[in-house]
């Protein structure tokens, strides 16, 4: 069983992290950085304003960057017949989705946390705000990953699924965003704890909702 999980995780990571065709992990990071770069151009070089709003911009950018890889999370494997072959080998859809949540988070969570360092410099955030942003991202991005995989499984096979999944993720990511970005204002641990709680709920739901969605998509 462990060997199978390792094999699944290794394949998912190769596809999501290194895949040259899909842009791999680079595309969300570059998108995230370009938002952080464009924002000061748009609002002007007002240092106090940037420092006050910068944390929130980082959160919005992270949320939007998490949407980019959604269309290659689940649908290609359904089209290839991978899920059917897994099912014949007794590998449940729930297990595959759970492994995919981990791989998806690894492919965009830590890279975004790294990219938040230059982004914080571009927005002129102080060290204390940056610390809250980083801890918030650590607590919130696993939930965004779980939500992304769930929605990708729900919209797999639908026409215009990629655009639809983006639209579906945004409202459901609002709790994570409110608590994550809200913790910047209070600077307190309670906001971060609620971010992590919202994340955990999404992670707990993802394998079951995603697995059921993949089975329902099977004709």
């Amino acid at each position: 069983m462990t060997g199978r999980i390792t094999a699944l995780l290794r394949r998912d990571l190769t596809r999501l992290l290194l895949s040259g065709r899909g842009g791999g992990a680079m595309l969300p990071v570059l998108f995230f950085l370009s938002v952080a770069m464009l924002y000061p151009f748009a609002v002007g070089p007002d240092a106090p304003l940037l420092a006050r709003t910068g944390g929130g911009v980082i959160w919005v950018a992270a949320l939007l960057a998490a949407i980019l890889p959604l269309d290659r999370l689940v649908e290609p494997d359904i089209e290839l017949g991978m899920f059917d072959q897994w099912a014949l080998r007794g590998i449940s859809e729930e297990l595959v989705i759970a492994v995919r949540v981990i791989a998806h988070w690894l492919s965009f969570g830590p890279p975004l946390m790294l990219a938040a360092l230059p982004a914080a410099a571009l927005l002129g955030l102080d060290a204390k705000t940056l610390r809250v942003v980083e801890i918030g991202l650590l607590a919130g991005t696993p939930g965004l990953a779980a939500l992304g995989v769930t929605v990708a499984a729900l919209t797999a096979g639908l026409r215009g699924g990629a655009a639809l999944s983006g639209l579906l993720v945004i409202p459901m990511a609002v709790p994570v965003l409110i608590f994550g970005a809200g913790s910047l204002g209070t600077g307190g641990a309670s906001g971060l704890a609620l971010t992590a709680a919202a994340s955990l709920v999404l992670i707990a739901i993802a394998p079951f909702a995603g697995g059921a969605a993949v089975r329902a998509a099977r004709g």
């Binding site: 060997g3 199978r4 390792t6 094999a7 699944l8 394949r11 190769t14 596809r15 895949s19 040259g20 065709r21 089209e79 290839l80 017949g81 991978m82 059917d84 072959q85 897994w86 099912a87 014949l88 080998r89 590998i91 099977r218 004709g219």
Partner: protein
């Protein structure tokens, strides 16, 4: 006890593990159309069945129901033994070289880099293609790769959906020989194909006999 079972060779294991398919009063519905109904048959170890019939009569659907991938509209299917399926989708990552795409399934099937796996590849004429990305392979080459995946799975029940599509004359003979040997070793093969699949001791199931409009007429 399990250690004793594991130490047996493949032939003895084949003789020990029960292998059968029993289909009882099966009906299949696609959308709001019932494709076939009251279909019953039984296959025991070593038997092969060709499901024949024109396009859209439900050959693939029957195979998917037997595989447990689609629900039966009515009736029941019970399968003993592990199931392997080949259909029109290769289930190999298009971007990966063939060798690595097959190695992924090898890892899941607990194959490792065994000599049997490389023997299968040479036999199927895939040994020279291992570095070629799957998306550059022809239809026939992908079909042969799917056969290699099926052999590695070591399943007792083979469900082959149009296994000869895109194969050249030599590869067709090879696919027939491989299936023959699988049945001789106590396996079961169900083949959905409109092409002739030459196999000694194979029954043919004309699915059109069970189609609704045929019986109404």
């Amino acid at each position: 006890m399990s250690g004793f079972l594991l130490s047996l060779g493949p032939m003895q294991e084949a003789a020990l593990s029960p292998t059968s398919i029993a289909v009882t009063d099966l009906a299949c519905r696609r959308g709001d159309r019932v494709l076939f109904s009251r279909l019953s048959f039984r296959l025991n170890a070593g038997e092969a069945l060709q499901v024949a019939g024109h396009n859209g009569i439900g050959k693939s659907s029957l195979l998917r129901i037997i595989a447990g991938l689609a629900p039966a509209f009515a009736g029941s299917v019970s399968v003993e033994g592990s199931v392997g399926l080949i259909d029109e989708r290769p289930a190999l990552d298009p971007a990966l070289p063939l060798g690595r795409a097959l190695a992924f399934w090898g890892a899941l099937d607990g194959l490792g880099k065994s000599s049997q796996a490389s023997g299968d590849l040479a036999r199927l004429g895939l040994a020279s293609l291992l570095d070629v990305p799957v998306r550059y392979l022809s239809t026939g080459q992908k079909k042969r790769a799917a056969l290699a995946r099926l052999l590695g799975q070591k399943s007792r029940v083979w469900l082959l959906d149009e296994p000869l599509n895109g194969l050249d004359g030599h590869a067709v003979e090879l696919a027939e020989t491989i299936t023959e040997q699988h049945c001789a070793a106590g396996g079961i093969a169900v083949i959905a194909s409109h092409q002739t699949f030459r196999l000694a001791a194979m029954r043919v199931l004309p699915l059109s006999d069970f189609a609704l409009q045929e019986r109404a007429a």
